[in-house]
Point group: C2
């Protein structure tokens, strides 16, 4: 099985290293300097010029570059081709706009770091993490099955299957909204001189505020409706607390906090069951 | 030096254990069952009936109970008395409403857990953490100095000095606002079935959603103005992202994310310097 990884950044580079750890010998493609580093470290067998001739191709590029690659490159007939973008509906629509010789499967690894690039890639990045695999009427079950075997080999502990629309709705909330909140949270002037005034809550709230604005602006706009809806819900919920505070309504404030606690306990139970 | 800890919950119990670890022999006071457990574990020397006769008294009770205790109990003349409440202005106003025979110092440890009670108290809870110590015109420097020695002995790694007003403004932002956001965040219906759709951002956002509504409603209302102002700032900042999204204004959205990233990098530098 000939495997190619296109884009050897944090995700693609970690996939290459994880496959290597599992005994596979993937090839890779990136800018010359990155390819040289990957070759020198024995992470890839060779630098590939294009996807033709490969049985499995992971397209680990940012959304626009990934869509262009999936749309324009020449893949071998029947090749299993997966992207790893943080939005799935837009990529799927791009791929299924035409007949394709390759078998497409949308994927999204639930793992990352606040840093990027091949230098930060590691073989263990996905250990125990969840890989989301989307399905559509045109998805080939054998292609999915082949990929899932490779994901297990990479260390993923859980495969989560859903449609692209389900993925985009969930991710708008669990990931994109969290990035918006973190980015907005740091902007208060009160943040200056915060050191000494926190035991961890502030760090948790603001850990992901330093996002790459080029990548995340695109992810947000490609999932605009779902993210807008979540942001509206959150703002509306925050306004409930604000109005209870301003009215000095202790019972209402307590009720809002209580509902949050019960909801959190429900979600913690769900997590334990799954 | 005779030390009493009033209230042997998570904070008071941990203070007792930390002092014990450092070779001190504090007495304690709580409900009979808690006193029995603390005595049986050798955490306190004896159960005290009142604060009279003690040189140092830590009042580790929730805000209203702490203020009542500080207002009504009979302390030895010159005793150093500290509370550990999460709001400082309200407690200080209560204490300084009269002449007091004791020397009051407002304190707030930047450490906690999502669980409470003596059973969860631990000698290492404060190791490396920051202790905030507030000062006012009536604060006695020798009392502060004596307490700071005890806090170092408890394991605190940093003492942060400020006025009660500075404390309340900072804590409204670094802690209270974070609790409001976490509580509001879990309320989206999209949270159901979140497992498999997160790599950590969602857990960070929602870790503290399960707050004790009785305690935090009081802390919020006792710091209502500062918290309301922070909540208004955050809502207004979130609305900027929402309107950029709804307008599909990529440049504005990128600018908002960029400003967040630069702000985060600034704060990270500040933390490294401090």
């Amino acid at each position: 099985m000939k495997i190619l990884i296109v884009g050897l950044g944090l995700i693609g580079g970690s996939m290459a290293k994880a496959l290597r750890r599992a005994g596979y010998a993937p090839d890779g493609s990136d800018l010359p300097a990155v390819e040289q580093a990957a070759l020198a470290q024995g992470v890839i067998g060779r630098a590939a010029r294009g996807p033709h001739g490969y049985d499995v191709v992971f397209v680990a590029l940012p959304p626009d570059a990934a869509m262009r690659y999936l749309d324009e490159e020449t893949f071998s007939a029947g090749a299993v081709v997966a992207d790893v973008c943080g939005v799935k509906g837009a990529v799927e629509r791009c791929v299924y706009a035409k007949e394709r010789a390759y078998r497409y499967v949308g994927c999204h690894p639930m793992a990352g770091k606040e840093v990027s690039g091949f230098a930060n890639a590691s073989a263990g990045l996905f250990d125990g993490a969840s890989m989301i695999v989307t399905h559509a009427p045109r998805t080939d079950p054998q292609a999915v099955s082949l990929l899932e075997g490779l994901f297990r080999a990479m260390g993923f502990g859980q495969i989560t299957r859903c449609t692209a629309a389900e993925h985009d709705a969930k991710i708008a909330y669990t990931s994109q909204l969290a990035h918006v909140v973190s980015s907005a949270y740091v902007k208060s002037g009160t943040a200056d001189g915060f050191s000494g005034f926190t035991g961890g809550s502030f760090q948790d709230m603001t850990r992901i505020a330093g996002v790459d604005e080029g990548l995340w602006e695109r992810l947000f706009l490609l999932n605009r409706e779902a993210l807008s809806a979540e942001l509206e819900t959150l703002i509306s919920n925050l306004q409930d607390y604000l109005s209870a505070l301003q009215a000095e309504d202790a019972a209402r404030l307590r009720g809002l906090l209580r509902a949050g606690r019960l909801r959190k306990e429900h979600l913690d139970r769900e997590r334990r069951i799954v």
